[in-house]
């Protein structure tokens, strides 16, 4: 699948897929990479080293700093794939240097799929 480059780079890993939007601030713990939002489909799961797949961001605009902090604390996802990346997530992944693309039909990606993400070219491969 081909999408739009938000932040360049390549990443490989297991997909962790959220059908719901993610708000990084208050949604993911900056020190552990674990999803803490109550009732969220990914609650209790860890995004570290995974290819995090979700439709779009939501909630607080501090989310950019949480994405940057996840990276600095070595608990960030290896890559991010969205249906539509909004400014909050875009700012975070650009600063953090996490490969990210959007405009992808994320319904085609299943939780646990092995994913190769080439954000330089805007390409996602399901292995």
């Amino acid at each position: 699948m081909k999408g739009r480059t938000i932040s360049p780079g390549k990443a490989e890993g297991e997909a962790i897929v959220s059908p719901e939007p993610i708000g990084f601030y208050g949604g993911i713990d900056i020190n552990t990479g674990i999803v803490i939002e109550k009732g969220h489909p990914l609650e209790g799961r860890c995004v570290t080293g995974k290819i995090l797949v979700f439709p779009c961001g939501k909630g607080s605009t501090v989310g950019s700093y949480v994405i940057y902090g996840l990276k600095k604390n070595d608990v960030a996802p290896a890559g991010i794939i969205n249906k539509e990346t909004e400014t909050i997530v875009a700012t975070g992944v650009i600063l953090a240097g996490i490969p990210c693309i959007d405009k992808i039909e994320i319904e085609k990606i299943k939780d646990g799929n092995k994913i190769f993400l080439d954000a330089d070219k805007g390409i996602v491969e399901i292995k």
Partner: protein, 376 residues
């Protein structure tokens, strides 16, 4: 500085901006040490140490504590040390260090159609919707970049064609308390996610109520702009024909109250999310006059509004009853879970949304009268 300008250019490229446009003012989120941690603090200190200065009036979002009264209110010492480092970094950049999520009540008021770069999600919603200024939902660092460069890429909500509603919300319910607006906002935000709702059926709403409505929609969803028939400034001129419609009535509001209530009895009640206006503080002073609170009540507000409340004697009335006016911070970004509180009472849909995840709190979501009653 170059790194920040590159960030703006990259965002402009991604979102097909035709140019950079000057901004009238900026509001920067990502201020509390609790939210941004060491990585954020070091990022900001690095920028400040390189001599970067803001070009336009720039305000800050709430900090993690009352910047003057933190000791008395029981904020931990090591937290305070880091929080003050962050504030000093911002001050070095020339940012006005009054920390508030309601800059428009504290001296940073944009005009209709003015381009701005604000980041606090409820302030973005208020300035776009109630004032009719134009801003995207900026991430903390992209707002800071706009402040330092004086410009923002021209895309998204800066353009009139993108300010048109794409869902209609029919309200069949008489909204009474400000918490009713919070519940409505929380419900609608969940439904519409990042769309632009056009509300009908809201007969009247003051700015406090619109602040509560917008804040809740920005927290449960990603709503950056909404229109209310007969009330908000762009409502008459936007295209609202043929939109998908959702209805919200008594049943949905009641269900939202039930859903947001995860606790039984509050250890602490906190008002002022977003920061309380003078009108809200005056109402609380009325309700608390001559009463004796058994458990704490905080009212969070900006330093400016606290000064005005002080002059009116409201602070004294509230203090006598056993309550506290807390400036510069709010319950969501302060470390209340480390201060011994497990259940927090709020009348804010936004606070009810964030407290369980971010402050590990059980929540009592109720109207102002029930919350005051619970603490007596």
């Amino acid at each position: 500085m170059e790194r920040l300008f590159r960030l703006l250019v990259r965002l402009g490229e991604i979102y097909n901006a035709d140019s950079m446009i000057p901004v009238g003012s900026v509001q920067v989120a990502g201020v509390s040490y609790k939210s941004i941690g060491d990585p954020g603090m070091e990022f900001l200190e690095d920028i400040a140490s390189k001599g970067a200065k803001v070009k336009v009036l720039t305000y800050l979002n709430p900090a993690g504590m009352d910047l003057e009264n933190w000791k008395k209110l029981g904020f931990p010492e090591d937290f305070a040390k880091n929080q003050l480092r962050i504030i000093n970094a911002f001050k070095k950049m020339g940012i006005v260090v009054t920390s508030t999520c309601t800059p428009y009540l504290a001296g940073n008021l944009p005009r209709f159609r003015e381009h701005i770069a604000w980041s606090e999600s409820s302030a973005v919603s208020f300035s776009n919707s109630v004032i009719g200024a134009r801003t995207n939902r900026e991430g903390g660092p992209s707002a800071l970049a706009a402040a330092i460069c004086g410009v923002t890429p021209n895309y998204g909500l800066h353009l009139w064609e993108n300010r048109q509603p794409n869902v209609k919300v029919k309200v069949n319910f008489n909204l009474n308390y400000n918490s009713d607006f919070g519940a409505l906002g929380w419900y609608v935000g969940k439904q519409v996610k990042n769309k632009i709702p056009y509300f009908t059926g809201i007969k009247d709403a003051n700015t406090d109520q619109l602040k509560a409505l917008g804040a809740a929609m920005a927290a449960s969803g990603a709503v950056a702009l909404y229109h209310v028939e007969g009330i908000t400034p762009e409502a008459d001129n936007v295209k609202k024909e043929g939109l998908e419609t959702i209805s919200v009535g008594k049943k949905e509001i009641k269900e939202t109250y039930d859903k947001l209530n995860t606790g039984k009895k509050p250890d602490i009640v906190i008002f002022g999310c977003p920061h309380a206006s003078l009108r809200e503080i005056s109402l609380l002073a009325d309700k608390l006059e001559g009463k004796h609170l058994k458990r704490p009540v905080w009212i969070c507000t900006s330093r400016m509004v606290k000064e005005a409340a002080e002059r009116m004697g409201y602070n004294e009335i509230i203090a006598k009853a056993g309550g506290s006016i807390v400036a510069d911070t709010c319950m969501v970004v302060s470390p209340i879970e480390k201060m011994g509180y497990k259940t927090t009472g709020v009348n804010s849909g936004k606070a009810a949304n964030y407290l369980p995840g971010f402050c590990k709190q059980e929540v009592c979501f109720a109207n102002i009268d029930d919350l005051v009653e619970a603490q007596l």
